[in-house]
């Protein structure tokens, strides 16, 4: 802004709706305004993004929000130290099931309301009915073991009385293959970001059973991961990028820009799918299959409700789920590593000049807000929530041990 400094930044991304903020930062000139020459490189797997970040091809990348934590805990190969200084929006995922499974769930009371409690109960009844039949367990796909998708699917199943590791099988599959796998009967359902549920419903091969926004309202999904050594070396470049991304997120959040944004993302070098598919996720008006379109509140939130703030309570919730599902051992050291991966301090100091709302706290009790609630902030005023889990549970990051213990049951 002030200086004519020119930072060259290369970012890896996956072709998903929530690459929107990065794409808009480049295409709408927010990055250039901050003196950043932003190069976006589309990748084919999260593993490839991670590898190329580790060898310095990318300074930053669109990452699944738990990935930097998993890397810092040494749970993945080629784990270079990564920080999460900004989030790339809230929500955006859906759980889609095959038409055959949906028909069975409907017999057990599932409706197009997308209510996770109702859908979960119907799935549990369907599973108990199948048990006598000597059929293999239902198979669900998620995109990555360290993903919001994996954890919210498991959370929903467990809270509905279904044991994710025993009563269903959870496999990993790349998003663009999911609708085809569902149609072919290789899997019975999946949890994925847009537009990959829309891909199944518009093709008539699946039905959306519930959405992330209903399982846990206003919940974290992707972050911008930054290579820790680069972030240390180039704090000004990182701060400039965070400002550009924040302004891009604000632009993405405005309904009047959704048409243009959908066109932009539809381009062959980005998501390369019809603009109409992308518009559904942006507007929250999803084709749920069969009954047609349903409007979902807060389906994908790119900017409002502090959607770009890297809450330490989000990092700790992801960590609690890594422990819950046996991916990580719970120790005070590991919890500290998870907490320190998310960097609200860097976010605040970079964005202060913009005068936008900055939360005063670094963490919050997740699930505590039943209604939109004004909270302490500097800059503009800030309203958060509602942010409830569908089962009414609370996650208090100060009571991490109790939460982890309670989930063992």
């Amino acid at each position: 802004m002030s200086a004519k400094s020119n930072h060259e930044i290369v970012a890896g991304f996956m072709p998903l709706l929530d690459s929107a903020i990065l794409v808009a930062a480049k295409e709408r000139g927010f990055a250039a305004d901050e003196g950043i020459d932003l190069r976006l490189i589309r990748e084919t797997s999260w593993a490839s993004i991670r590898d190329r970040m580790a060898v310095g091809h990318f300074q930053v990348a669109h990452l699944l929000a738990p990935m930097p934590i998993a890397a810092n805990l040494g749970l993945t190969p080629l784990a270079a130290k990564t920080i999460a200084p900004i989030a790339l929006g809230l929500g955006g995922n859906a759980v889609t099931v095959s038409n055959a499974l949906w028909a069975q769930m409907a017999e057990h009371g599932a409706t197009a309301s997308l209510d996770p409690a109702l859908a979960g109960r119907a799935l549990r009844l369907t599973i108990s009915q199948r048990e006598g039949d000597w059929v293999p367990p239902l198979k669900f796909a998620v995109v990555h073991p360290f993903s919001g998708h994996n954890y919210e699917l498991r959370y929903w199943l467990a809270a509905s009385g279904i044991a994710p590791d025993r009563e269903v099988e959870i496999v990993i599959l790349p998003p663009p293959l999911m609708a085809d796998a569902l149609a072919a009967g290789t899997i019975d359902g999946y949890c994925v970001g847009e537009p990959w549920s829309t891909a199944a419903t518009t093709a008539g091969v699946g039905h959306i059973a519930t959405v992330k926004a209903a399982i846990w309202r206003s919940s974290p999904e992707k972050v911008l991961g930054a290579a820790a050594n680069w972030a240390e070396r180039e704090p000004d470049a990182l701060a400039a990028l965070l400002r550009a991304l924040c302004l891009a997120a604000q632009w993405c959040s405005s309904a009047e820009n959704h048409e243009e944004l959908a066109q932009m993302l539809a381009e062959p070098n980005y998501v390369a799918r019809p603009a109409d598919w992308l518009l559904r996720g942006l507007s929250g008006k999803l084709d749920v299959g069969g009954e047609g379109t349903k409007s979902i509140e807060d389906f994908f939130v790119p900017f409002a409700k502090g959607a770009t703030f890297p809450w330490k309570s989000h990092a700790l919730w992801f960590y609690s789920q890594m422990v819950r599902w046996g991916q990580a051992a719970h120790t005070p050291e590991n919890a500290a590593i998870a907490r320190e991966t998310y960097r609200p301090d860097i976010y605040r100091s970079a964005l202060k000049p913009l005068g936008i709302a900055l939360p005063a706290a670094n963490a919050k009790v997740e699930g505590a807000l039943r209604t939109p609630t004004p909270v302490g902030s500097t800059g503009a005023s800030l309203t958060l929530g509602p942010d409830g889990f569908f089962d009414g549970a609370l996650f208090d990051p100060d009571k991490l041990d109790q939460y982890i213990d309670a989930q063992k049951l």
Binding site: S48, T76, P77, H144, I172
Partner: protein
């Protein structure tokens, strides 16, 4: 490698059949005989279990890598836990591998000295393949440009009454004056001639 106790089992996963064959040849020439090549991931868990690999070589850009990695980590398909080779490699090999577009995984406990020649071979074959593909592309586009230039010469010869070498000289001079490639000039000339051609046919 005559005195190796047990020959290493190597699994090559590459959707590009040609490249997979190039890597397979390289490893075979280097004395590795226990090789399995998989071109698509259909039923991959079974194939991994059957070949019980010590080393798995995958192209970095394979869209199924997240799935494969989780499969290695769960190690239900693989009898022994598998880690990425980088755990036993130096930074330079890691960079060379990512640069070349190779990723590799090795079973736990395998010594670095046994892994390194395999990785180095995969890297050099990946690079050789990329070079080959590039050269093929170039040869193809050279052939294309020669055809374009021939047609453009033909047009100039008939419309301006030039002989072949003068027609070529004119194309070359125009290209040099405009700082463009001869084939570009030829292409625009052909387009222009097509647009301006009398509607006789």
């Amino acid at each position: 490698m005559p005195e190796r106790p047990s020959p290493l089992s190597i699994l090559i996963i590459d959707e590009n059949r040609l490249r997979a064959a190039v890597i397979e040849d390289g490893l075979r020439d280097a004395g590795y005989s226990n090789l399995t090549v998989v071109n698509d991931v259909q039923g991959i868990a079974r194939k991994i279990a059957d070949s019980a690999p010590d080393v798995i070589v995958i192209d970095l850009g394979n869209p199924n890598r997240d799935m494969l990695e989780s499969m290695f980590q769960l190690s239900r398909a693989v009898k022994r836990p598998i880690a990425m080779f980088v755990d036993r490699a130096d930074q330079a090999s890691i960079e060379a591998a990512v640069e070349a577009g190779v990723s590799a995984y090795v079973v736990d406990g395998l010594k670095r000295e046994r892994v390194k020649p395999i990785i180095d071979m995969a890297i050099s074959r990946f690079n050789a393949f990329a070079r080959m593909a590039r050269e093929l592309d170039e040869a193809r586009s050279q052939l294309e440009s020669r055809k374009l230039i021939d047609r453009a010469k033909g047009i100039l010869m008939s419309t301006r009454g030039l002989n072949e070498s003068d027609a070529y000289a004119l194309l070359r001079k125009t290209a040099m004056n405009q700082n463009r490639k001869i084939s570009d000039i030829a292409e625009s000339l052909i387009t222009a001639a097509g647009l301006l051609a009398p509607p006789e046919e």
